[in-house]
Amino acid sequence: MNLEKIKQAMMALAPQAPVVEAPAEVAPVEGAEVPVAQKGRPAVLDTDYAKKGFTLDIELPPENVVAAAEILFKEGLSIEAVTGVDWIKDGQLEVVYDFIDWQWHGRVVVRSRVPRDNPQIPTISEVFAGANWHERETHDFFGIKFIGHPDLSPLLLPEDANFHPLLKDFKA
């Protein structure tokens, strides 16, 4: 896989103007310790593998994740996990995708934030079939709707479950 090609392609998918209070240039910052919850962070970030466990950290708007997945699929990566994080203070849910390449030491992380009251994001299960189950699980735990997913019924929770346990305001 070609790391530079991926970075270029991802930067093309990122929004031209970042969300709020952008730094002057939208360029990858080498090894900076950027906290996850910071608004206006650069879209494509090189991270220190030894400190974080992944090499490339990409933040994209929800509608571009499928294109990103297709780029990564063409470059020969494999899907490792899809999960969510509940940023209740920001009113957002974050969907995190982990991809690895078997011949390459490192990991590519793609993130996307959706609003908490209406969480919707297109599914990448057409590109990576393994994402099917990961997205079902994320839907179980967070209630995120994956648009275009063939069957979003509960995977781990009971069939009639209508609650989402990993939300921060979930009370059993």
């Binding site: 494999s78 999960t83 995190v96």
Partner: protein, 372 residues
Amino acid sequence: MSHLAQTQTQETFVLNLGPQHPATHGVLRVKLVMDGEYIVHAEPVLGYIHRMHEKMGENRTWAQFMPNTGRLDYLSALSYNFGYAAAVERAAGITVPERAEYIRVITTELNRISSHLLWFGAFVLDLGGFTPLLYAFDDREQILDLLESVTGSRLTYCYFRFGGVYNDIDDNFVPGSLAFIKRLRARMPMYHDLVTKNIILMKRLIGIGPISAEMCRRYGATGPVLRGSGVQFDVRKNEPYSVYPEFNFDIPVYHECDSMARYMVRMDEIEQSMRIIEQACNKLPEGPIMAEKAPKIIKPAPGDYYFSVEAARGSFGVRIVSDGTNTPYRLKLRSPTFSNLSLFAEASQGMLLADALALMGSLDLVIPEIDR
């Protein structure tokens, strides 16, 4: 569910494999739409042992979650201890002393051998050979005794701590491990002669359940499933962690992509693990087993971190999101068998029931790890 409605016709019927069934190792239910003996559509139904470990992770401190990791894949629990401990150590910047790293590697590799031995016995049991299970358990008993003397548990270990291990090995451990390796090395040819070269077993495994490398890539399958499809990927060599770079071992890879290839990968991995243990036992340094500067209460810097280790079933990943407090903000456990099982629906289409069970056995499923 929509799949079932489409694929069921008048000639097909629905057969429920499980959740109580001798061949599904754990509580797994597979809804099979069958046409006679052929599987038209297979749909695994999960969740029978879902305990929501990830939510438990958010409600406990970092150290209090350690016992949970032993309950995920109880057969190779030390790898899971390893993944979680190493993830938090990466996040908090704790360095583990060398002796502790060596002890971690030795115990994890012993655990890997015991997991593979149990898989071997259970797999051949699924195929109808009742006896190798007991022979494998005999060997496994010795490993369990060794590990019990060090960790205090036989199965669901909670041995690692942030910064090292909590108990040092006693004087009998190294000679005991080396004696065990000698014994198992003498017994492996017997397993190969009696089981691997048995014509009935070969007919049941060779050419059965092909899983191509491309299918593995689309589903994210790792571990022996991937290595049996010709891809040389092992976290211990690709993303080396701990002291694995210091050891001389190979990654067995087979290119036939069938169940026999996955079987042979695991059998060869037992030999490679024995090599690692031997080298580690001979090079074991003296020193402390816990990092001196390990804080009593862990509070990693805010951010998200990922750590991946090679468990017996594939690459086990821990993604932790920390907000600087003493409990995790989010703890994601990426279980290898979850991804491995997800390809079962596609791989088993059109297969006979007996062959599909051979395929399922060769995937090496442990359901509590899938359901968490």
